[in-house]
Symmetry: C2
Subunit: 98 residues, 2 copies
DNA sequence: TCCATAGTTCAAGAATAATGGAATTAAAAG
DNA sequence: CTTTTAATTCCATTATTCTTGAACTATGGA
């Protein structure tokens, strides 16, 4: 994972609404949930939610599939896990400890 | 860890300079490194770096101690670990899987 | 074909965050 | 007590991000 991807993931999650959306999708598991249900559950206007979902998708933290008239979003948890790995890489390499 | 703390940590790390500072401090380990060395190594103006260090410190991701004329910063990696735990909490609880 | 439902896109203004220069604090040395 | 080194704070400017309403696309049903 490169710096740019990490920055995109971090700034995607660094917003109240998007953090809530991501966590909601995490609880929903691989089956995901339609945009409309997310909007309702979190009380976010549909257009605003679209903006935030696009942000999460762009950062690789969520993906969407169409099912009839609905767009079903689900969380990509692997990307989130990759972030902490990047953060902790090379821990203490400048000191003979740990 | 509450939502507000997570948001502060995420937005602290969601910036190129601060992400680099944090990772540099992670490699430096518990001994940390003085602000001046960070500024030099990352080629960031002292005042700008101060701004970013304050941001990291405020988010609980770094701490500082004075040693003569220098301020030695070190990373608080536990806070970073707590973030991913928060993100992955209650995974799939809405679906009988995982 | 016409209408309703489900979401997205666009453009604007509003709110937040980042940068750079000048002044300021803190500690140690001459 | 003056100077130097180390770093921070303040303030104005600039840049970025968020929100809102209106218009638009896509799908399915009457």
């Amino acid at each position: 994972m490169d710096e740019q991807a990490v920055l995109m993931a971090l700034s995607a999650l660094a917003h109240e609404s998007r953090l809530r959306v991501f966590r909601l999708l995490v609880t929903a598991g691989p089956n995901g949930m339609p945009a409309g249900h997310i909007a309702e559950e979190l009380a976010i206007a549909p257009n605003t939610l679209s903006f935030h979902l696009a942000h999460l998708k762009n950062a690789g933290l969520a993906s969407a599939r169409r099912e009839s008239r609905s767009l079903i979003y689900s969380a990509d948890t692997g990307q989130a896990r990759a972030v902490i790995e990047y953060l902790m890489e090379n821990c203490c390499t400048r000191q003979p400890c740990c």
